[in-house]
């Protein structure tokens, strides 16, 4: 027994700010002070509050140290772990009240959260199967194998109302039912861990913080549909996740929780890892299966659906990491418990990766039906530097931008679709008044053009043409007619593309056209970018009456666009300078150079 447990976050965010070195230093210091038998150091998965990393929590007190530095470690060990005096100065300041220390769960960031999929992240050591088992791990698999028939398992999934967390929100139970109903000598269970949306990282956090939950859920799925082989398709760009998954698979084998005759019930199930090689389209189910088969990850037409002919032409189910992370809890606590959370048609919770112009960047899990306002203003802590909220982008390159007038819409699958966005995998990027919406649409289109696999024409050529039009608009060469043409093209691409990538690629354009048409009009009619982002529409100029004539800007200008004039402002000794707009490359160096704020862009 240890008297104190110190949890150090070993997720990707904190690891990149050297949390593992902090854990090492901690162990070293404890050993030196002879405390290593009393104080336990555990490297956990992601806590979610990545903006405050590296993170360290000391139990039983629950003291939450944020932005810990290596130099802080000796002090924490000596004062807190040795003498029992919490180092208030280093705590996350929101937990510090006048004379008491607030529990982490009572802070604005955590209080409104409901952790189901992330329940073990930041709590257990992901590299130790015993930690997982101590937290009810593999109990659901045991229950399923010894007490339930496959039909009962599928019925539980149907009753729970769980829908796919990877994007489209298809009911998980229904998917399993279809696959179970198709007889075949071999079936497969696949896991989509090829999280590719820019800005989404919840799957990575589950894989890094609680890898066994995915293995357990896949085995449950295997039992339900009659499959004995599973594949996890994980991005090669997630080295920590890959490593921990492999450790988890090996440990599960060792404990007889994967392999042959699991729990002595005669049920066999094994899981192989397959590494993705950097292709966004492989998040699409048929493309992912083609890729596991070792071929170019191009989607195939559906039908036949994977439940009929999937991997190696056998019945296959594919679920996303977050979907799997919910399943053992549903089995243990019951479908009713799960269905009691959320809205009428979207049950349970959803994890969002909060990013962009927001104070608390990180991972939050909230019940379905929570409003965007709660997420952005309360949990996310609002927008930095007193700027105004302009839009939230959900669903990555497949989603859309939600304007301020929809901040109070309860978020679920159907409501997001109704306002022109989609749940997607749960990336949530907040934008403020300094973001240009045309530029955002262009950013996502550049991404889809790059990632389009090229198999079908509407997506391959359509997105390219769309991007060309967006480029013309941001270059000031757009016309009003072009906006209509763009909308028409968007609808063609949506209607005619082969897979989800193409069918949703125009969403960023359509939603910004719908909610921020005035910005498009400013670009094409006035040739201005209201947010001051689109370089080619910007003009830099010098306010001559503010110019002291020091000439620093002219010296720094890389293209020699600044020259001296004959005008000297009242009260100044030297003549003012001016910028030749025809020569200006709009790099912005002059603004940064001018000490007198005499240069403006607009």
């Amino acid at each position: 027994m240890y008297r104190s447990n110190v949890l150090v976050c070993g997720g990707t965010g904190c690891t990149s700010s050297h949390s593992l070195l902090i854990a090492e230093k901690l162990k070293e210091e404890l050993k030196e002070k002879g405390l290593d038998k009393e104080v336990n150091v555990i490297t956990t998965g992601c806590f979610g509050l990545c903006a405050l990393g590296p993170i360290m929590v000391v139990y039983p007190e629950g003291s939450f140290y944020s932005m810990v530095k290596i130099e802080d470690v000796p002090e924490i060990v000596e004062e807190h772990l040795n003498k029992g005096r919490i180092v208030t100065r280093l705590l996350y300041q929101e937990t510090v009240e006048e004379d008491t220390i607030k529990s982490l769960n009572k802070t604005a960031f955590y209080e409104k959260q409901e952790r189901v999929a992330l329940r073990n992240c930041g709590l257990i050591d992901p590299e130790k199967i015993d930690d997982y088992i101590a937290n009810d791990g593999y109990a659901a698999l045991g229950k399923v194998l010894t007490e339930m028939t496959p039909e009962e398992v599928i019925q539980t999934m149907l009753d729970s109302g769980l829908r796919g967390r990877g994007g489209a929100g298809f009911p998980t139970g229904l998917k399993w039912k279809f696959a179970a109903g198709n007889d075949a000598d071999q079936k497969y269970v696949c896991c989509n861990a090829d999280e590719g949306d820019p800005g989404a990282f919840m799957d990575r956090s589950v894989l890094e913080g609680d890898p066994h939950v995915v293995l357990e859920a896949m085995a449950i799925a295997g039992y339900a549909i009659g499959a004995s082989q599973g594949y996890i398709y994980v991005r090669a760009e997630y080295p920590i996740a890959v490593k921990r998954l492999q450790i988890a698979i090996d440990q599960a084998h060792e404990y007889g929780l994967l392999g042959e005759d699991i729990f002595g019930t005669g049920f066999n199930f094994d899981i192989k890892l397959r590494l993705g090689a950097g292709a966004f389209v492989c998040g699409e189910e048929t493309a992912l299966m083609t890729s596991i088969e070792g071929r170019r990850g191009e989607p195939r037409p559906r039908p036949p659906f994977p439940a009929v002919k999937g991997l190696y032409k056998k019945p296959t189910i594919l679920n996303n990491v977050e979907t799997y992370a919910n399943i053992p809890q549903i089995i243990l606590k019951g479908a009713d418990w799960f269905a009691s959370m959320g809205t009428e048609k979207s049950k349970g919770t959803k994890v969002f990766a909060l990013g962009g112009k927001i104070n608390h960047t990180g991972l939050v899990e909230v019940p379905m039906g929570t409003t965007l306002r709660t997420i952005v203003e309360e949990i996310g802590g609002g927008i930095p530097n007193g700027k105004k909220f302009k839009a939230a982008q959900t669903g990555g390159p497949s989603g859309g931008c939600i304007p301020v007038e929809h901040l109070d819409v309860p978020i679920d699958y159907d409501n997001l679709l109704a306002i022109g966005s989609m749940m997607g995998s749960g990336g949530l990027i907040v934008m403020d008044e300094d973001n240009c919406m045309v530029d955002i649409a262009k950013f996502f289109l550049e991404f889809t053009v790059d990632e389009s696999c090229g198999k079908c024409t509407p997506c391959r050529i359509g997105t390219k043409r769309l991007l060309e039009m967006l480029n013309m608009i941001t270059d000031g060469k757009g016309t009003l007619e072009m906006l209509d043409e763009m909308e028409e093209l968007c609808n063609y691409i949506k209607a005619n593309s082969l897979c989800g990538l193409g069918q949703t690629a125009p969403n960023p354009v359509l939603s910004t056209l719908k909610y921020f048409k005035d910005e498009y009009i400013a670009h094409v009619v006035d040739h201005k970018c209201p947010a001051g982002v689109c370089k080619n529409l910007l003009e830099y100029s010098i306010i001559k009456d503010k110019c002291y004539g020091c000439g620093m800007c002219a010296k720094k200008c890389p293209v020699g666009a600044i020259s001296v004039t004959g005008y000297t402002a009242p009260g100044k000794k030297k003549p003012a300078y001016e910028i030749d707009p025809n020569k200006c490359a709009k790099c912005g160096v002059c603004i940064d150079t001018c000490k007198f704020k005499a240069i403006i862009k607009g």
């Binding site: 292709a279 890389p558 490359a585 790099c587």
Partner: protein
């Protein structure tokens, strides 16, 4: 992104080949072997020259065009090696108008390679990149983590000399 096939002569060693054969053997019976084998082959050779792709195709008994198709589809696979010193030339507007095109040409001439290629001794590779945001230093190149600004084409040989002599 378009991939350029390396024109460098293949310099694989027997030791590398033996390792590759082991990998091929390990995945021999796996129906989806091409990707994992390519991934491990890239770890062995650093990139995937056509010679290696041919060995994989023959070893696994799949057509070369299938292996090539996979190697060119995924962004993780490289068909040209990256040199010990990787040179990026910024072709953003500010650098371009200050003559970064000339700098690129000079580099290309000095090294005897085009952009997106690697020298025969794998010491240098060359690429053209978009604005890196150091417009005040235009024109700019980076060599690994070192940044060189306000360059002229005449300075290129001197800079390269430093790296050529370094070990």
């Amino acid at each position: 992104m378009l991939k350029k096939i390396s024109s460098l002569p293949f310099q694989g060693t027997p030791a590398q080949e033996a390792k590759l054969k082991e990998v091929i053997l390990k995945y021999q019976d796996d129906p989806g072997a091409v990707m994992p084998v390519l991934q491990e082959a890239q770890d062995i050779y650093g990139y995937l020259p056509l010679e290696v792709q041919t060995m994989i195709a023959e070893g696994l008994g799949v057509p070369l065009d299938e292996v090539y198709g996979v190697a060119t589809f995924y962004s993780q696979f490289a068909l040209t090696p990256k040199g010990k010193y990787h040179i990026s030339v910024c072709l953003g507007t500010a650098c371009y108008v200050k003559g970064s095109g000339d700098v690129l040409n000079k580099l290309s001439e000095e090294l005897g390679i085009e952009a997106e290629e690697c020298t025969a001794d794998t010491k240098f590779s060359l690429t053209a990149c978009r604005c890196i945001g150091a417009c005040g230093l235009a024109p700019v190149i980076t060599i690994n983590d070192d940044v060189y600004g306000r360059l002229t084409a005449d300075e290129v040989p001197g800079i390269l000399k430093k790296y050529k002599e370094a070990e």
